[in-house]
Amino acid sequence: MMASNYNAKEEDGHQPAAIGHGGAGTVKNKKPDNTAFKQQRLPAWQPILTAGTVLPAFFVIGLIFIPIGIGLFVTSNNIKELEIDYTGGDMSSPCYNCSQSYSWNSTKPCTCSVPFSLDQPFESNVFMYYGLSNFYQNHRRYVKSRDDSQLNGDKASLKSPSKECEPYRTSDEKPIAPCGAIANSLFNDTLELYYIDPNGSRTAIPLVKKGIAWWTDKHVKFRNPGGNDNLTVVFQGTSKPVNWRKSVYELDPSDPDNNGFINEDFIVWMRTAALPTFRKLYRIIHKKPNMTPTLPLGQYILEVTYNYPVRSFEGRKRMILSTISWMGGKNPFLGIAYITVGSVCFFLGIVLLIIHHKYGNRNHSADIPS
């Protein structure tokens, strides 16, 4: 047993100082100090939890938690959320062909259109997520396969990425930028939304691709090497990740603030998800200045450029449209949990009160059956 001998510490007990002293010196002829600390008489608060003191707390907790829970529950219920699975697993699905005919090398992207309808309009800002299932972004080999100093714009790391990036460190003898498995597997489906007017015409819904990543990630943690000027030159001599179709400096050539390592889609992807089923923020549909809802009810089409293979690991892909409240996205868990705990506390308070009144008064709560 590991600790069985731990304290066999013949060596370090505080034996009376030394042979030479022969004991005479070890005995203190001093009267101990009469201080509160040394006499263990520090003034102290000695709380005692009894039914009497705890009872009100139960009621207070109940009274606070139940309203919060109801508020949370209502808020969560008011959040509108629409989920569309476009994996294309079964024959009837519009993306079936794309999912079957997938190959990394195909030059011609496969597209499919998924029609859907909204039963109720989405007010205020709408957030568009993509969701993946059975995708282990939290696998250890995956999580550690990145080089944060490279992503922070360190030029040395750009040329020789960290070993953690293996086997996505170099390709064709050239360092990969950005290296690692996470970057390599960047989600590269393109999702577009079209509103089908009742008259049949399609209007593209403007999707904003900024503001989807943490501010600190975008401005501090991720940086392009050598600032934002001419990324093509900066990334000279590096190779694109093997599964990418284009280089990192081509992620968003139209906007230098969203290109290279500071591309927000990329940053969002780089924040590894906690669970194998996850969603990531893809686009934001801003509220229109006029009173019309952001997404009025009616028919829509989701245009998917199907690049991302998930069939091999039996994953699923989803597109989620959701509004957001102060508590974040739709999640009834918190509301239910608060209501439950609040009720339990309240109930316990009542039970305790009864017990306390029945037995406690007579015998100083000593006879409460435990």
Binding site: M1, M2, A3, N5, Y6, N7, A8, E10, E11, D12, H14, A18, G20, G22, G23, T26, P32, K38, Q40, L42, P43, A44, Q46, I48, V54, F65, F127, Y129, Y136, N138, R140, Y142, V143, K144, S145, D148, N152, P167, Y168, A181, G211, T216, D217, K221, N243, T272, A274, L275, P276, R279, L281, F313, I324, F333, L334, Y338, V341, L348, P369, S370
Partner: protein, 1093 residues
């Protein structure tokens, strides 16, 4: 002798095996053959263990010899070698911390030892070198050097006394620092060395060094002529101090580490507390949990990987090296990785915390002013801090009567001379009704007997008369004396100070003084006694047959003026009675028995007139035995026994030893649950069961048969009679018949030694003992005391025993018991040095056990349970996370959190708690002895509390993980729609964890001093601060900026706040409920609250 001659015949080499030859002053003896300077070690005392050079390697080696440290080192190495989920820093840093702290502590202690060593080694001494006096550092003394020591100096090494400045060729030393005896001992020079030391050439042949302080056999041979045998009375021990003598010269025989003092300095055997055993048991459980967790995860991992597309999906390819690795090797390294991932469940920091708690906690005992005794100006002494909590577990208390229960200030109460009893109370002889039946003897004869008896008292002792050194003491004595005698004329001799190794000798001499016989002191082998007629009688002291606890008697052989040679012997009745005539015994034994039962110390005095032939024979025998190089003790013993026969009994004495203050109270509280051995605790209504030699000798049958019968009989009465035998706990309160049990040494040895059935007797005896409230064992040898302790210690249920004693004869008992307590009494410091704790008075035991012991037990038990609990709920979420990350050993928490959790975030509150907690305040604990029973039998560290804590940990761990898991079913937790990743997940869990675990401790704290407040709230604040700080900077030395702004972003999310609050409350809810519903365990704590506020 023969052996020595043989040795000489076969040459030097063999002789050196068991003896050494020393040339005084390094001058070779012309008579002997070639002079080969023998090699002996130098006089350096080295108590330190390390030097500057070997400190690091040696200390590291010593530390890693501990299995726990070694385990953590292995974990660390695994982390370095194998690709493990957590960086080696996470376990390396705590280990480094532990090792460093321990190394600093040990280094400091060693530095202190170095300093002390240097003080001794660099001390300047005077050495005679070629006739000149030279100052030398003590460490440079070589064996054979002639050393000069002046008064009040300590001897730098073991010396043979060659020359003394005193005329009678003696010197006085005190060995207070060796065995605590502060009386002056007389040592003698080697006879016939009047020759100048400068030209003295002699050899000393002595035994190889051995630790026995009181044994020394040596031959001293002057070159040409004679051979002398020397004994311990010629040897001056290192560490002793020269007194009353201006200066002496001595030749160094043992030096440095070979001195008797250094050889005596041995580490005591380590005593282990029950708590430690519990810790080890719990550790075993946790190790099993750890291994099974790792096994489950490894299995899961391979099951999961066997599904299609999971082991190596396209987005997460293995490296070439990983692909090539052997499957089974992979499995093994995976297993190791999981072990590493979960190894935090066995926290390295627990050991540090426990050790710190014990170390710091023991200061409170030595600081306690209630243990301070103004008389000796000392407080309690803690020799080991390992047993603090054991003080709260004591079930059996063994105490030594003399000096422990009693004050050890003896008073001569009465004597009984030839059947007549004299009481001291009124200073007049009085015939006791008891004695009348014996029939008065003629007055003349009685007077003679009386005087003989008193002379015996005056002569048969080793008392010394204190010389006029301490004038101030004298004045004090004088005042006492005058007042004490109510203005009567004070006999000048009354003012004499007597010094003796045992106080009852003084009491006897003083008693004799009261009857007119005054011991005036020694004058070069002559004892001077002033008799009733104020005449001074002189007796030549021929031999002293020393007292020892085995013989339990001592004798002197003196020659009176008129040439009669007399032997006076005094000793315990059991050792005297067999050596005198039976009819004399019958006359006196009744008194002795009576006095003994009242509680007096009794001694019998006998004498014998030796004819000159007898004396010659005895003298020769004694001398020969003393000369013997081997088996000297045994030979001496044989001669003693031979001489001390056929004596006639003159009388018996009784000396009272007053009970220590509050002894009765202290003991009474003990009986609440424990049994007291060897103390006077028979209350009225206690039925006495006696098992002594006397009861056994009734029928005249063989003792053993009788013993068997009596034991069985008592067993029936004590064990079987009280109908519900097993309900012992309640029986204490009920008015059940209390049994007292008396057994004496002789019978006890029968119980232990009667061969075939001894185990049977033992168990019978034990059962009787356990059913009696009090067991009195009288007339015991030290070893028997230890035997009894050992027997109880190893009995069923292995109860915790405590021995308390003050004398050297209690040492064996003190060492044997779980806890040994020494009383800083008058019988020297032997007991104190060997004890685990030393207190000035017996009454202090009450606070030590009921107060400190109880508190320490509660503290450490809580500490241990809390540590296991907090690490269980720390690691459980990490384990559960493996089910959600493909069993890939992905840690849930960041490495910084993993490392800091036990070191910084949660360690200080529990340490403060374990030092300061007083769930009930001292006064209540002391006034209410039944509370002690609440923690008896390791109540807080048994399996059911452990199970409770474990379940609590499991519950909370599950709650933490799944609460956050459900929250993360939608990871969009911010009001800007952004999502949280896996590090946010871990941070939320960790935040809940730190708060819950700290608040749980806060709920358990019953005694909130400002330190507790500071540490508890400070820890939480520190956690917040650290998290901000750690996540606020891009750390250049980190490979991954995992926590960058994770904590701050978490705090910006309302949902995260809400879930944290919810989970903390929910995890503490069962605890709160239990607290409310549980019967208030300590009912009085409320009433006395005011005392501390």
């Amino acid at each position: 002798m023969l052996r020595r001659r043989l040795n000489r015949l076969f040459g030097r080499d063999e002789r050196r095996v068991d003896s050494r030859t020393i040339y005084v002053g390094h001058r070779p003896c012309p008579a002997t053959d070639t002079f080969i300077p023998p090699k002996f070690c130098d006089n350096r005392i080295v108590s330190s263990k390390y030097t500057v050079w070997n400190f690091l390697p040696k200390n590291l080696f010593e530390q890693f010899r501990r299995i726990a440290n070694f385990y953590f080192l292995i974990i660390f190495l695994v982390q370095v070698i194998v690709d493990t989920p957590t960086s080696p820093v996470t376990s390396g840093l705590p280990l480094f911390f532990v090792i460093t702290v321990t190394a600093i502590k040990q280094g400091y202690e060693d530095w202190l030892r170095h300093k002390a060593d240097n003080e001794v080694n660099k001390y300047l001494v005077t050495v005679l070198e070629d006739g000149r006096r030279a100052r030398k550092e003590s460490e440079k003394i070589k064996v054979g050097d002639v050393v000069e020591v002046v008064e009040d100096e300590t001897f730098p090494c073991d010396l043979i006394l060659l020359q003394s400045s005193r005329e009678d060729e003696t010197c006085f030393v005190t060995t207070a620092s060796l065995d605590g005896e502060s009386n002056h001992k007389t040592h003698y020079t080697v006879p016939d060395t009047e020759k100048g030391l400068e030209s003295l050439s002699a050899t000393v042949e002595c035994e190889q060094p051995q630790p026995d302080l009181y044994k020394f056999v040596t031959f001293f041979s002057l070159c040409v002529v004679s051979l002398r045998s020397l004994g311990p009375e010629n040897l001056l021990l290192k560490g002793a101090t020269l007194k009353n003598t201006q200066k002496i010269y001595g030749v160094a025989v043992y030096s440095g580490m070979e001195t008797k003092m250094a050889l005596n300095y041995q580490g005591k055997s380590q005593k282990r507390s029950v708590v430690e055993k519990s810790i080890n048991a719990f550790l075993l459980v946790y190790l099993c949990i750890l291994v099974s967790k790792a096994l489950v995860c490894t299995t899961l991992k391979y099951v999961w990987q066997s599904q299609p597309g999971q082991e190596e999906p396209w987005y997460n390819q293995k490296t070439q090296k990983e692909k090539d690795a052997n499957l089974y090797l992979n499995m093994f390294t995976d297993f190791l990785s999981f072990m590493v991932l979960f190894n935090f469940i066995i926290p390295v920091s627990m050991y540090v915390t426990v050790e710190m708690q014990k170390f710091l906690g023991s200061f409170f005992i030595s600081w306690d002013k209630d243990f301070f005794d103004p008389e000796i100006q000392e407080g309690a002494l803690v020799n080991t801090s390992d047993l603090n909590e054991e003080l709260g577990q004591v079930e059996y208390v063994f105490t030594d009567k003399t000096g422990t229960l009693t004050q050890n200030s003896m008073e001569f109460i009465e004597c009984c001379i030839d059947g007549f009893q004299y009481k001291n109370r009124d200073s007049s002889t009085e015939l006791d009704g008891f004695c009348v039946t014996d029939g008065p003897v003629s007055m003349l004869q009685q007077k003679e007997e009386e005087e003989l008896f008193l002379r015996a008292l005056c002569l048969c002792h080793t008392v010394q008369v204190k010389e006029s050194t301490g004038q101030e003491d004298w004045v004090g004595d004088q005042v006492d004396g005058v007042l004490g005698l109510d203005g009567e004329m004070v006999h000048p001799a009354e003012l004499r100070g007597f010094i003796a190794s045992s106080p009852d000798e003084v009491a006897l001499v003083k008693g004799a003084m009261k009857y007119g016989f005054t011991f005036l002191g020694m004058e070069s082998k002559n004892m001077r006694v002033m008799n009733r007629d104020k005449d001074v009688e002189t007796y030549e002291l021929l031999h002293v047959l020393n007292f020892d606890p085995v013989r339990r008697r001592m004798s002197v052989i003196v020659r009176s003026k008129c040439g009669d040679i007399m032997l006076f012997c005094k000793g315990a009745d059991s050792s005297i009675f067999p050596r005198v005539r039976q009819e004399e015994v019958d006359r006196i034994s009744m008194h002795v028995e009576r006095n003994a039962t009242v509680g007096y110390r009794t001694l019998c005095v006998a004498y014998k007139l030796l004819s000159s032939e007898e004396y010659a024979q005895a003298d020769a025998g004694l001398r020969e035995a003393r000369l013997a190089l081997d088996d000297r003790e045994e030979k001496l013993m044989a001669v003693y026994n031979q001489v001390e026969t056929g004596m006639s009994l003159i009388g018996a004495t009784a000396v009272e030893d007053r009970l220590q203050e509050e002894a009765a109270e202290t003991m009474e509280m003990e009986t609440a649950k424990s049994t007291c051995y060897a103390c006077r605790l028979f209350q009225r209504g206690t039925e006495l069961l006696e098992l002594t030699v006397r009861t056994l000798e009734d029928g005249g049958r063989r003792r053993e048969e009788r013993l068997h019968e009596v034991l069985l009989d008592y067993h029936k009465r004590a064990v079987q009679d009280p109908p519900p035998v097993k309900t012992r706990v309640t029986s204490w309160t009920s008015a059940k018949q209390d049994y007292g049990f008396i057994i004496d040494g002789a019978t006890l040895s029968l119980v232990f030694n009667s061969s075939p059935d001894s185990s049977h007797y033992k168990s019978l005896f034990l059962q009787i003992c356990q059913n009696c409230t009090t067991v009195l064992c009288c007339r015991m040898a030290p070893l028997q005391k230890a035997q009894i302790v050992n027997m109880v210690k190893n009995s069923k249920g292995s109860p915790i025993t405590l021995s308390i004693g003050d004398g050297a004869n209690d040492v064996s008992m003190i060492l044997e018991a779980h806890i040994g307590i020494g009383i800083k009494g008058k019988e020297g410091r032997q007991a104190v040095r060997n004890s685990d704790y030393a207190i000035p008075k017996l009454k202090h035991l009450k606070k030590l056990l009921l107060g400190h012991g109880h508190l320490y037990y509660v503290r450490i038990a809580h500490l241990v349970q809390y540590f296991f609990y907090k690490n269980l709920c720390f690691i459980l979420p990490q384990f559960l996370y493996q089910f959600f990350c493909g069993s890939s050993q992905q840690p849930l928490y960041d490495a910084a959190y993993l490392t800091m959790y036990n070191i910084c975030f949660t360690s200080m509150p529990i340490l403060a708690y374990s030092l300061l907690e007083q769930h009930i305040c001292m006064e209540v604990l002391m006034s209410n002895a039944t509370l002690y029973r609440d923690v008896a039998k390791n109540a807080m560290l048994r399996w059911s509390p452990f199970l409770y804590w474990t379940l609590l940990g499991v519950y909370q761990g599950l709650l933490f993980f799944f609460g956050v898991r459900f929250l993360f079913s939608n990871p969009a937790l911010q009001d800007n729609g952004q999502v949280f990743g896996n590090w946010s997940y871990g941070t939320i869990v960790f935040t809940v964890l730190v708060f819950t675990v700290t608040l749980k401790l806060a709920m358990d704290t019953r005694h909130w001093t400002w330190i507790n407040h500071f540490v508890i709230w400070g820890s939480l604040a520190f956690y917040m601060f650290f998290s901000f700080f750690w996540g606020g900077i891009i750390w250049p030395f980190l490979r991954q900026q995992r926590l960058y702004f994770v904590f701050a972003n978490m705090l910006r999310s309302v949902s995260a706040w809400l879930v944290i609050i919810l989970l903390i409350l929910l995890s503490l809810l069962p605890e709160i409920l239990l607290l409310v519903l549980r019967k208030p365990r300590w009912p009085h704590s409320r009433q006395v609250r005011y005392t501390h506020i």
